[in-house]
Amino acid sequence: MSSSKTSSSTVRKAAEHLSRADTATVEPPSKRPRSSHPIGIRPLGNLLIDGGRNCRDAGLGMLKPLSDFAVCTVFEHLTCVELGRVARVSRSFYVFANHEELWMQRVTDDFRDGFQYHKDWRCTWLTMTHRKGVNSVAPASVRVPSFYSDWLFQRFHCASVPLKRRWLCTETIDRRDAAALSVGDSIREYETPNVPVIIRGVVDRWPAYGKWSREHLLKRAGHVKFTAGPVDMSLRDFFAYADANEDDNPLFIFDPKFADRAPFMADDYTPPQYFAEDMFALLPQRPNFRWLLIGNRRSGSKWHVDPNATSAWNGVIRGAKKWFMLPPGHVPPGVSPSRGGAEVTQPVSLVEWLLNFYDATQQADYGGVRPLEATVCAGELLFIPRGWWHAVLNLEDDTFAITQNFVSPRGLRATAKFLRFKPEQVSGVSEGRHAGLWMELEEALRTHRPELLADLSTGWQTDGTAAKAESARVDVSVNGEGAVDGRGGGDGGSSGGVVSVHPKLLAMFGTS
């Protein structure tokens, strides 16, 4: 049903991704994935086919009953020099001591203020610490025949497996043209029912659109440091890393301070009129609310729900982003939030999730709610409603986006409830402000929007009925097979209860 509103140019753009994904040359030639593991680790299944011995066990001695994960945990406690020393013990020790994850951890721990990536993480650490023979630093090269391990192979596999056509071809999120969508329409059709929409004709009017290229950003801010995961690194160093790395879950820039660090960036976009109201803007000190996103293909965010029960928009300036989304309370398969929802356990990378769990969601007999999906291309903007689970995969190198979270009057109740009842999970503010953020907001509303505060105080203290409705747990029909129970992970802990389904949401899932 969304296709009726999809413009042909968007379809064409999405189709380009598909045809590219479908060919062997999906990766740019400069970084086409290797076809075999750099030091020869093979998946365990090959042991049966090859019929030989696994040199893992003989080389571990008394440690052999431990899982690969546990052996790596032992090795994590060694310094880099110790890792270098134990690598000579046996082929097994060599394999574990060269595990790139360990070296990545060391680099990002030891060089939080930035580093120049060199060939791989181990070489990067050696180069950054100016070890002897720095000129000859080369990736681990001793081939280890007959070492079989699924766990160690996984990282390489997820980094190099071609993105499958079936992961990229589904488009189930509404697309609307800004010219034909008033603010009132948007509130009525999308924000109030709390469903996502892609809006065209907003981002392509930003100064950034068309202007922001890698060259442009390097010229204006090449030396400026941005936050990429655990480190702050210069844009120049980041691009060098992004082009050279072979990570399964590559670092990407996700920076809440970009407007201070590179003020021109803030001048190059305008928040869309549809989502202009933000109650957090009334606070004397606004929590983190906007982020710059820069990443190469295969980087992206794993499954999560946005902080503080806020909604968000994400405008793609360059490149393309593939989105997977599930409504509030519908935890994706393979993902388990802790009790209370503060932490989320899931596969190491989104590609691993796709490999292991995506297909299950597409089976005819899948019992859960299928994710909504879309490839959001440069010039388009996605509305991410509060409470929705989402995961994002960048599909092109130099994918640039700006995202902003907000609390509109429609979302105020949910956010107020979150701040009041889950203060320990409040994020985006300095230490010590979490517990008091609700009171800060209450005070700001009393001054600036007393009518909203009055509205808020009715209902939620009585019997939680309003809260229950607000938790937006939805029962939706999948393929006309009847209602599916809202599963755990919602924010109220209430189960059961009749929640009406907005026809819009029903229609969207009905077509999947």
């Binding site: 546990a70 406690h77 134990v86 013990v89 002897k132």
Partner: protein
């Protein structure tokens, strides 16, 4: 929502080892291991008095329960990686250091396996740190002997290549 605190405090849970020995422990102790909590949630739907079988030897289960009982009210200290010292007491405190200072090295590996199986991350970290302490200052030869390694012989070329590659840490190093 959750069961009332008083009620959970008094509730006892039965856990049995692979050798059939049954331990009756407080609900809070058993639930320190999330995996056990899930098993309890699962079985208690059918019957309240059921014993949860765990695939752990009696001595190992006893040790694990000791850890859970102590740490349910004492949050374990985060262990920095890499270990700054082999004196674990300085890092994790006296109780944990004494707890993990087991006479039999096999018990240490059994504890790693158990922590891995029951997904008790701080115990896994503690036991792995202890194992790492043993390796930290040993030469490759000492490690081979200590862990009773019988690795496949490398060809002289392979050996040479590896030495060349690892030169950076052996020049003036302990090995």
């Amino acid at each position: 929502m959750e069961t009332a605190p008083m009620e959970t405090e008094q509730r006892l849970v039965k856990l049995s080892s692979s050798q059939g020995d049954v331990f009756e422990v407080e609900f809070g102790t058993a639930c320190y291991a999330d995996v056990v909590k899930q098993m309890i949630d699962f079985t208690s739907e059918s019957s309240d008095a059921e014993t949860i079988p765990l695939n752990l030897k009696t001595t190992v289960l006893e040790k694990v329960l000791q850890y859970c009982d102590y740490h349910r009210d004492n949050e374990p200290k985060e262990i920095p990686k890499p270990l700054p010292t082999t004196n674990l007491g300085e890092i994790v405190g006296d109780w944990d250091a004494a707890f993990i200072n087991v006479d039999d090295e096999n018990m240490l590996y059994e504890l790693i396996l158990a922590a891995n199986y029951l997904d008790i991350k701080p115990l896994l970290d503690l036991a792995c740190a202890k194992a790492a302490c043993a390796i930290k200052h040993m030469t490759p030869d000492a490690i081979r002997e200590h862990f009773n390694l019988q690795p496949e012989q490398m060809t002289p070329e392979e050996e040479q290549e590896m030495l060349e590659e690892l030169k950076w840490c052996t020049d003036g190093g302990a090995a």
